[in-house]
């Protein structure tokens, strides 16, 4: 249980700068999700907090203590890896107990803590099994258990759900979030999946190319993206971007409108040709192409009439839903 502070943290591998200075203050018990496309440096950032990568410059503080030069085990953190990193030759019990054994925790204490974690994660029946005898979801839970028994100040998650199938992912998402609430542990969670970020985060950090483009509560980021990148990355299907020119307006700004704010209409702001539509059941995504080739997606209620492919339709939206970005991608 502790706060976590990143103060202008930078990372370079040789001459290549990977992280260009990131500052975040994480409150005690807060669930922070770092989200971004692959290669944006989000995992590197997490690994610097864990102590698996050195910090090139800036400070990492856990509970007000500067930990830059400390070994991972001294930082009071626990990490859940993408491929779980369970020790294949050890039983579930030994996997969870390994860290405590090294820390020379008394045997009775170890057994109690592991039993407690196993109860919490519904792993009691599997304690004597080897990791290979478990399903993906169970392995994930063991990895969580290994983190829990250490009673760390900060949980670090490195894309923990990306090896699971879609259904299990949704379930584990809820479980992780519930568990974190119950334990009240500060958590830093890295993912490339914006749905995970939206559903789990108290606050999220949207990273792009080594820079934190925006830090904020999920709905706030969704409603008010700070940059064109954030507007395009958060939300599915992504925001439609149109140049001012296409809309017949002055200036070189780009206008972003979310698919759910875009309507098919007679006339309206501009016309486009329907390319194809995807019926998802509750809603239908209509993909259109404007005269200049820009792709636009419109989210339509399934009950509404869907234009035939190739049909020419008008697009309309409320000006209040428009997001304007200048040529550097910043909101203006």
């Amino acid at each position: 249980m502790a706060t976590l502070t990143l103060d202008n943290v930078k990372k370079s591998f040789g001459k290549a700068d990977v992280i260009h200075g990131i500052s975040i203050d994480v409150a005690d018990g807060e669930f922070i999700v770092i989200v971004g496309p692959s290669g944006c440096g989000k995992s590197t950032l997490l690994r610097m907090v864990a102590g698996l990568e050195t910090v090139t410059s800036g400070d990492v503080q856990i509970g007000g203590r500067r930990v830059n030069d400390q070994e991972p085990m001294d930082r009071d953190i626990a990490m859940v890896f993408q491929n779980y990193a369970l020790y294949p030759h050890m039983s579930v019990f030994d996997n969870m107990a390994y860290g405590l054994k090294i820390a020379k925790t008394p045997r009775a204490d170890i057994e109690e803590r592991v039993a407690q974690a196993a109860r919490l994660l519904q792993l009691e029946a599997y304690l004597q099994r080897k990791p290979r005898e478990l399903s993906g979801g169970q392995r994930q839970r063991v990895a969580m258990g290994r983190a829990i028994v250490r009673k760390p100040a900060v949980f670090l998650f490195d894309e923990p759900l990306s090896n699971l199938d879609a259904k299990l992912r949704v379930q584990m998402r809820l479980e992780i979030k519930a568990l974190q609430r119950e334990l009240g542990v500060t958590a830093l969670y890295v993912t490339h999946d914006q749905v995970e970020a939206m559903t789990m985060a108290d606050r999220m950090v949207v990273m792009n190319d080594g820079i934190a483009d925006q830090v904020g509560a999920p709905l706030e980021v969704y409603a008010n993206p700070a940059t064109e990148f954030v507007a395009g990355f958060i939300g599915s299907p992504p925001t439609n971007f149109l140049s001012a020119e296409v809309l017949g307006r002055a200036g070189d700004a780009r206008i972003g409108v979310r698919p759910e704010h875009t309507r098919l209409s007679e006339g309206g702001n501009l016309t486009a040709r329907t390319v194809y539509s995807e019926a998802l059941g509750a809603e239908t995504l209509v993909h259109l192409k404007c005269a200049d080739g820009t792709q636009v997606t419109v989210r339509q209620d399934a009950a509404s009439t869907i234009p035939r492919e190739g049909a020419e339709v008008g697009l309309d939206w409320d000006t209040a839903n428009e997001m304007r970005f200048d040529s550097s991608g910043r909101r203006c």
Binding site: A50, I77, A78, A85, Y87, Y98, G99, I102, R146
Partner: protein, 284 residues
């Protein structure tokens, strides 16, 4: 109608032909061993008087007892023990050293890491025979002639095994090392608690190969053991051959040859189970 059995379709005549081919092949390979066995169970006169018998005689216990207790120069039991110590020493030593050096090369970043790896790799090009004179000089100066250390130490470094373990360690996910670091394991702790148990199937496989390598050493023991009490079995067989007008005691020589084959066979059969089971488990 072709009946399916396993992966290969049964084909009437073809099946018999392939089996016949295999049986003939096995008989061909096995025949000299059978002859050796027959020769070890008869008396000297039966062997030297043609035609050589093809069925075992009644001297089995007498010949083997004679071989084990007195032999020609030294009792076979002593030579078997010498060979066992040398083969086990070489196998275990090679495994220990190559595990550690592969661990260093894969998991530590130190200056000259690649250089050291290639240096180790280069020694592959220098088999015992090439460096035998300087090695002899060194061992002689250390006073290790006619000793187990002298038999084992010069053969204990292994580029092949180092390379094998390096390749295996590189397939172990980095996250395991990192997880162990987060759990607070120091490098050697990680090595003993995680890497070593994970390598056990490789170790078993390598032990078999290296044991046989050590067991079959001929030139080196021949060079540094002058005392018959330190002879190893493989060179011992050669020593039994008569020089000049001596009469060869063929039954004892053949009994010795067969005895020399027993330990490697036991190791292969015994360890095979272990590493086949390990391979089937397919973990990681």
């Amino acid at each position: 109608m072709a009946e399916r059995n396993g992966m290969v379709e049964r084909r009437g005549a073809g099946l018999w032909l392939t089996h016949l081919g295999l049986i003939v092949g096995i008989a061909f390979i096995f025949f000299p061993i059978w002859l050796a066995f027959v020769a070890s169970t008869v008396e000297q006169q039966d062997i030297v008087r043609p035609p050589m018998p093809l069925l075992p005689g009644d001297q089995f216990f007498a010949n083997y007892a004679r071989a084990l207790t007195s032999g020609v120069n030294a009792p076979v039991s002593t030579m078997l023990l010498n060979s066992l110590v040398m083969a086990v020493g070489i196998a275990l030593g090679k495994i220990a050293i190559s595990l550690l050096s592969a661990f260093a090369i894969v998991y530590f970043r130190f200056p000259g890491r690649r250089l050291f790896f290639w240096l180790i790799f280069l020694t592959l090009m220098l088999p015992v025979e090439v460096r035998i004179v300087p090695t002899y000089e060194v061992i002689a100066n250390f006073g290790m002639l006619n000793s187990y250390q002298g038999l084992i130490l010069p053969l204990i470094a292994s580029a092949t095994a180092t390379f094998l373990f390096r390749q295996f360690f590189m397939t172990v996910p980095d996250e395991l090392a990192e997880a162990a670091r987060v759990d607070g394991a120091k490098p050697m702790r990680f090595f003993f608690d995680i890497l070593l148990p994970m390598s056990r199937t490789n170790i078993a496989a390598l032990f078999v190969i290296l044991f046989i390598y050590g067991w079959n050493q001929y030139l080196w023991p021949l060079l540094i053991t002058t005392d018959p009490e330190m002879n190893t079995i493989v060179m011992g067989i050669k020593q039994m051959f008569p020089s000049g007008d001596d009469i060869a005691d063929w039954p004892v020589i053949m009994a010795t040859s067969l005895l020399a084959m027993v330990p490697p066979v036991l190791v292969v059969v015994g360890m095979q189970r272990l590493f086949v089971r390990g391979l089937v488990e397919s973990e990681k």
